[in-house]
């Protein structure tokens, strides 16, 4: 049994995933100039629901399609696998505590929603520039 477990762990630990660049974006009404990993995690796990000035936070995400930025956002910025974040959201949903963040199919749709919703937060490809939203650097 022990050898079997070790073999399985070693085999799958060889698998990896590519790396991309993702930025955090917010509605311009958000006063912060940067965001820490701790705060980003607290927001995306729905633990922090208000900005420090009291504005309610609206969390947006991209859908789970293979071409989506969502897996890169989870791994690169939140330092977790998408399945770990999905599990946490589902835990809140199925225990009646909260709703999943609103999901969008394309980055353009999400950027538009972030620009139009006070207190909103989302993410975007680093190469994209958009005057309607605020790009927040993530502090380690």
């Amino acid at each position: 049994m022990g050898k079997l477990i070790i073999s399985i762990f070693l085999f799958f630990s060889l698998l990896g995933s590519p790396c991309h660049s993702v930025s955090v974006v917010t509605n311009p009404s958000v006063h912060q100039q940067d965001i820490s990993l701790l705060q980003l995690r607290a927001i995306y796990t729905l633990q922090q629901r208000h900005w420090p000035d009291g504005t309610p936070i609206t969390v947006f995400r991209l859908s789970d399609s293979p071409q989506s930025l969502h897996p890169q956002f989870c791994q690169e910025l939140l330092k977790v696998y998408p399945s770990q974040l999905d599990q946490l959201w589902d835990r809140l949903v199925f225990s009646g505590q909260a709703e999943r963040p609103q999901s969008f199919n394309t980055p353009q749709e999400m950027l538009r929603a972030v620009a139009q919703t006070p207190g909103a937060i989302g993410y975007s490809d680093k190469k994209v520039s958009d005057d309607q939203v605020k790009f927040l650097p993530v502090k380690p």
Partner: protein, 395 residues
């Protein structure tokens, strides 16, 4: 089969309907799971001894509606089947109104009224959603699967206070309720198969104090207490077609408290819980001289137990997680002779996250002992294995 097809069809239709209905403020979600279980000895769930038991499935629908910033409703209906002992009727799993009078960036307070979820351990809140369990079943020794409905949610009220700090959230929850009196669960919980009667829920109390740093760790101290009145007969067979029925009027209780911990180290995730369950039966089993059948009053039966597990999983890739688990259960004191009082279960398995919110688990368990299987399973085999697989889906 017909019933299952009906459920699947209903769920598909509801899934389609949710596309229309899932506009703010209401949201509809659901889950389904189908498991298969084979055990080389001992019927673990259903008829699994040298047979593949497939009568293990759940279907559920979950609805959440926010009426205002302070008021919301959450409810879930479920059909649960785990062998012949369970009824697979559609039942209200939980349903409550939540009032949140205080919502600031550093403190939140709320009260729930209705059929409220009992905060207990790390997985009781979502015990019916297979997608959220790290293994095919919740650890038996801690989560009282024979009392699934009663341990999960009861009719009553609960209160929650959250203190939000930069690095973590402190949560304290307490609740008071009336335990459900499900006929099958009461029968499964009785200390003897010679008893026939019915239970009536008396009191349920629960609490949980937890600290959680999102996606990093969560630690909790929690406890639960459930009690029922019981009235019925203790029926002693005296011949092929004769018996003596002794009326009994007593009470029974189940309680448990302990600590829980989950910690993530990059791709590694560790979960451990240690609990001290106790069951107590008062004035339910008569104290009878087996030779003369003379009744010398009633017995107080109490069993104190120690239950715990250590679960480690490793995210091998974006879609595959491997896990191993060691579970331990011991009856540490008892007022009557019980056999097979210790159980050790070593398990390993793989969990695969598939497209379309599907998930597949397969695992093998090497078990030494049979203490979970029930107090009167003296025919159980000491060393045995079971193999379980599960496909589940959420939307």
């Amino acid at each position: 089969m017909i019933r299952s097809s009906f459920y699947l069809l209903s769920l598909s239709l509801l899934c389609q309907a949710s596309q229309v209905l899932a506009t703010p403020p209401g949201n509809l979600h659901g889950f389904a799971q189908q498991s298969a279980l084979y055990s080389d000895d001992n019927d673990f769930i259903g008829n699994s001894d040298d047979n593949i038991a497939t009568d293990i499935r759940d279907f559920g629908l979950n609805y959440h509606q926010r009426f205002s910033d302070s008021f919301s409703f959450a409810g879930q209906i479920v059909s649960h089947e785990a062998g012949e002992q369970t009824s697979n009727n559609i039942e209200l799993d939980y349903g409550f109104i939540e009032y949140s009078p205080l919502q600031k960036d550093n403190i939140r307070a709320s009260a729930r009224l209705g059929r409220v979820i009992q905060s207990y351990g790390l997985f009781n809140d979502v015990r019916d959603v297979a997608h959220l369990r790290p293994t095919v079943f919740v650890p038996y020794s801690i989560y009282y699967d024979r009392l699934r409905k009663s341990v999960f949610a009861e009719d009553g009220a609960s209160f929650k206070l959250e203190l939000i700090e930069p690095a973590s959230v402190w949560t304290s929850e307490i609740g008071i309720a009336k335990p459900r009196s499900d006929k099958n669960e009461i029968r499964a919980f009785l200390p003897s198969q010679l008893l026939s009667g019915s239970g009536d829920g008396k009191n349920a109390y629960f609490f949980r104090i937890a600290n959680e740093s999102a996606l990093d760790y969560r630690v909790a101290l929690s406890g639960i207490y459930l009690s029922w009145d019981y009235q019925g007969d203790f029926v002693i067979p005296t011949g092929p077609s004769s018996s003596i029925a002794i009326p009994v009027d007593g009470s029974m209780a189940a309680s448990s408290f302990g600590v829980s911990l989950e910690k993530t180290f990059g791709s590694f995730n560790l979960i451990s819980e240690i609990f001290r369950p106790q069951v107590e039966y008062l004035d339910i089993v008569p104290d009878i001289n087996p030779n003369t059948l003379q009744i010398n009053g009633t017995q107080k039966i109490r069993s104190q137990q120690l239950a715990g597990y250590l679960h480690m999983n490793y995210a091998c890739s974006i879609t595959i997680t491997c896990f191993t688990q060691y579970e331990y259960f011991k009856i540490i004191s008892k007022d009557e002779d019980l056999t097979n009082a210790t159980t050790r279960d070593i398990a390993a398995g793989i969990r695969i996250f598939l497209p379309y919110n599907l998930q597949f688990k397969i695992e093998v368990h090497e078990v030494n002992g049979s203490a979970w299987l029930g107090l009167d399973r003296d025919d159980a085999v000491q060393k045995w294995h079971y193999y379980a697989s599960q496909i589940n889906w959420t939307f």
